[in-house]
């Protein structure tokens, strides 16, 4: 007598797909761009971000708000002469999040490029 066959348990040894570890806050083009620029520049001015990412001030502010709320960047307002300037700095958490995101993207590419074993 045969009964329904249970599906085999998932292979524990297989590493989870890189997509499962992606952070929605970081895995977004503009926010990843902000984190990259802030990481490379050590600290970066609002105007520079706007020019490089080709965004409106309002759009950029929204993305910065998301990153600031998540604790990934710090926003500091100051003055240069009479002009107001806003500086963005990456926090330690932001640094880690960026490194993890890039590592996962590389894993993803490696998965696509590695031919599956039959």
């Amino acid at each position: 007598m045969t009964g329904p066959v249970d599906a085999p348990p998932p292979d524990e040894s297989e590493s989870p797909h890189p997509v499962t570890g992606l952070d929605d806050v970081v895995h977004q083009r503009v926010r990843l761009g902000i984190l990259t620029l802030a990481h490379e520049a050590h600290r970066v001015e609002f105007g520079y971000l706007r020019t490089q990412l080709e965004l409106t001030a309002g759009n950029l502010s929204q993305h910065l708000g998301v990153l600031e709320t998540a604790g990934l960047v710090e926003v500091e307002k100051g003055y240069a002469g009479k002009r107001g300037r806003t500086w963005i700095t990456l926090t330690a958490a932001g640094n880690t999040a960026l490194a993890e995101e890039i590592a996962r993207l590389k894993q993803l590419i490696a998965r696509v490029e590695t031919p599956s074993e039959q």
Binding site: H27, V30, A41
Partner: protein, 231 residues
């Protein structure tokens, strides 16, 4: 760049390429390579009048059949180099911060400045140790390796070593090649021989060559930066 979410796993390669491109653009905008080369060239040329005006300090003189042999220390030049190099690194750091800030960026110059100052301290410590501990090697010469190390931490050699760190910070192959070429010239036996020879012109010739190289490099990098910005 748009604000679209990235399809998971769909376009990772393009996203990584964009990340690399942004990082490259920041590094290009942070560069002021001509500034350290110019400041260090001026410091090198400045050693020449200090050398010509200062008097060497003689010590541990020993009589020989055909005269005498002494330790010679160019005290004024040594103090000039140490003070001028530390001041130069402060000026360079200030210049980088100022330029980067005007472009809306921060800077990562600290490792370069710390390396430069550390090499000055090492050079001063080695000079002090040689004066205090080293017996007169005459008529024997120190080994080629010891002479090479001494030239390497000599002010002109130390400038080249610190430039290697700057090339790494700026991820700039052209500066790496320049620094290696500069070191190859200032450490080459005919140039480095100016150090320790009895001829008065030995050291000034060495400084004219190393300062000239730095000045040429500064002009070259300034021109390259100007061309890139006008494009």
């Amino acid at each position: 760049m748009t604000s679209d979410a990235v399809p998971a796993g769909g376009d990772a390669r393009r996203l990584l390429a964009e990340v690399r491109d942004l990082a490259r653009r920041v590094r290009l905008d942070q560069r002021v390579t001509w500034l350290p080369l110019l400041v260090l060239a001026l410091v090198t040329f400045g050693a020449i009048p200090v050398y010509s005006l200062g008097h060497p300090v003689l010590s541990d003189c020993r009589a020989l059949s055909d005269g005498q042999v002494c330790k010679v220390w160019f005290q004024a030049v040594a103090f000039y180099w140490w003070a001028a190099l530390v001041l130069a690194y402060v000026v360079i750091a200030g210049g980088y911060v100022r330029v980067a800030r005007s472009r809306g960026l921060g800077t990562r110059m600290l490792p370069y400045v710390l390396t430069g100052v550390a090499l000055v301290v090492l050079s001063a410590a080695a000079t002090g140790a040689l004066l205090l501990l080293d017996p007169l090697p005459y008529p024997d010469s120190p080994s080629a390796f010891v002479v090479f190390l001494m030239h390497l931490i000599d002010p002109t050699g130390a400038i080249g070593l610190a430039l290697l760190v700057l090339a790494w910070l700026e991820r700039r192959v052209a500066l790496l090649l320049f620094a290696l070429g500069y070191l190859a010239v200032v450490l080459s036996p005919p140039i480095a021989a100016g150090w320790g020879t009895s001829s008065w012109w030995g050291l000034p010739t060495q400084w004219v060559i190393s300062g000239g190289l730095l000045l040429l490099g500064s002009a070259g990098f300034a021109l390259a930066q100007r061309l890139r910005r006008t494009r």
